[in-house]
């Protein structure tokens, strides 16, 4: 039997909870169900007369679609490379910055700038100012060094590397800041004990530093993977997925299928696959994190 006070508390809690719940329902759950429904239907605005329930047709079509496999491969390469680069560069920078006695504060603030820029701005900035052939900053440097001019975003062999660099540039500061915070919170006496215990600087890094910042590293990897899997705006602004399908990761393929080729049914199925991949990766990473 509930007391009147408890009942009133309960009602109050529901009032507080309800608006957020409704908003979430309308903005995420409903579209998600709609997406799932669309993915098992034929919805192609270029041939609107073929409509109706398609079952698993959209999904089985994927198996024989080379563009899908290409985009999946690009997604794996893009995610893997950007995350590894961010971790390595972020860790390296953090270790370096820890050594400098002054000016850490300024570096921390400077590191935030790329993070707060909108990805679409970053994509455009790189495309017009840095990577543009002939008058971009990078080309200027390369010509000065005698490597000649390159079309960094237009050359199918360079475009993927270019968008990977853009993403890495924007998000490495995040990894850097988190790792730096984690490193500076480590107790100094442990490292002194290790020095007395005859550990070289390399041994101290392997046996003390790395294990102690492992939780932070895993969290950063998880967060960076999720963002890399859902990367869109910067690539869209820089290359639009091209040239051809050279930078067409799953996200961009989904977008192009749905909104350029107007095949909503197939696009929805691709989106569902991306969702499944993201969920699977996050789940396994979290399992890895709690494993120890």
């Amino acid at each position: 039997m509930q007391t009147p006070v408890a009942a009133r508390e309960r009602r109050f809690a529901i009032y507080l909870f309800l608006p957020a719940f409704l908003v979430l329902l309308v903005t995420t759950t409903v579209p998600l169900i709609y997406l799932a429904w669309t993915s098992v239907n034929r919805v192609d605005l270029t041939s609107p007369w073929i409509k109706g329930f398609a079952g698993a047709d959209n999904y089985s079509k994927m198996l024989g679609d080379p563009r899908f496999w290409n985009s999946l491969e690009l997604t794996v390469i893009y995610t893997g490379t950007t995350v590894v680069l961010q971790m390595l560069i972020g860790l390296g920078l953090a270790l370096l910055v820890l050594q400098i006695p002054r000016g850490q504060g300024i570096l921390r603030v400077a590191a935030i700038i790329p993070i707060v820029l909108a990805p679409v701005v970053v994509g455009l900035f790189w495309r017009t100012l840095v990577l543009a052939p002939d008058f971009g900053v990078l080309d200027f440097v390369m010509r000065a060094l005698g490597f000649g001019s390159h079309d960094w975003l237009g050359d199918p062999n360079l475009a993927l590397a270019s968008v990977i660099v853009i993403h890495t540039w924007q998000w490495t500061p995040f990894a850097f800041l988190v790792i730096l915070a984690s490193l500076s919170s480590l107790p100094p006496d442990i490292f002194e004990a290790a020095r007395i215990d005859r550990a070289s600087s390399v041994q101290r890094f392997w046996y003390i530093t790395l294990p102690l910042i492992r939780p932070a590293l895993v969290i950063v990897v998880i967060m960076r993977m999720m963002v890399a899997l859902s990367a869109f705006a910067a690539i869209f602004a820089a290359t639009g997925g091209g040239p051809g399908s050279a930078t067409e990761i799953l996200n961009l393929y989904t977008y192009r299928t749905s909104f350029t080729e107007l095949n909503f049914g197939y696009g929805a199925a691709l989106a569902m696959v991306l969702l499944a991949v993201t969920l699977l990766v996050s789940y396994s990473m979290f399992r890895l994190r709690t494993a120890r």
């Binding site: 442990i190 215990d197 294990p211």
Partner: protein, 351 residues
Amino acid sequence: MSNGRVSLKKIVKRHGAFTALHGIDLDIEPGEFFALLGPSGSGKTTTLRIVAGLEEASEGRVFLDSTDITNTEPGDRDVAMVFQSYALYPHMNVRQNIAFPMRMVGMPKGEIDAAVQDAAKKVHIEHLLDRKPGQLSGGQQQRCALARAIVRKPRLFLLDEPLSNLDAKLRLETRGELKKLQRSLGVTTIYVTHDQEEAMTIADRMAVFMDGQIVQVGSPKFVFDNPATADVANFIGSPPMNLIPASYADGRIRIGAHELQTSCRVGGERNVIAGIRPSSVRIGPSGIPARIDLIENLGDALLLDLSLDQMTIRARTGTEVTSREGESVFFSADPTAVHLFDAVTRVRIND
């Protein structure tokens, strides 16, 4: 047995404009249990860290067995240290913690295991080897840190207030064990503490630090019986020595209107500080009159607060004293129990 003679020559340590150590000279004999004693902030830890190599001396040199180790890396000095915080590796279990110093030099696994067992046994933590430091009590952590230090058989142990984080009872027990352990290992040990009783009971010899200087070196008994300055006298012994302003003339001192005989044979007149340990204060039928302000009964002894011309003099007496609080008594002291210090320099006068 490896040696372990430590010599510090004119060690100066500056932090910017602040000087933490003003030229320390110290010689520690092989196998000695040597305490660095002094109030907080007097430079004991700094001295220990300079011996360990964790901090660089601004001036001066450090010798270990006639090798100049002033610029040697800590790991190459063959010293082991127990930190005040213990500094155990939190992600390793006790076994891995103790094994760490040997793993780092690539000792074969079989030898490491045997050495870990042996060290753990010496400090009675064999049953805790698979625990992480976070699952140990303070006393167990302290033993783990100790095992990690003794496992290497170093030439020198450095201990920085190793007992200060333990509760009073455990501190007493561990103190005794530490002393026995050091005796059985025979390794030179430098032991930092601010607790004078700890230093008195555990050390073969000690150095008393004050404001970045060593004011006295000697055996605990010698320092207790012959404090070099009034400040050392006040620091060592509990309750602390009574320090009474007095004037001195040819072996006698005057406290206010009263006189007291001393064993000092220095001639002339001067202002002094007379030091009398509470346990040397005698309550009797004659002497200097004073009023009893407070009596604290310790069971086997009484602590009296005597007031004399706005001064408080503490006395530690047997329980046979029957006077009550508020009553007047007479006190005196054996001439040999009166320590004399110069009123200005505070340096000891009698020998």
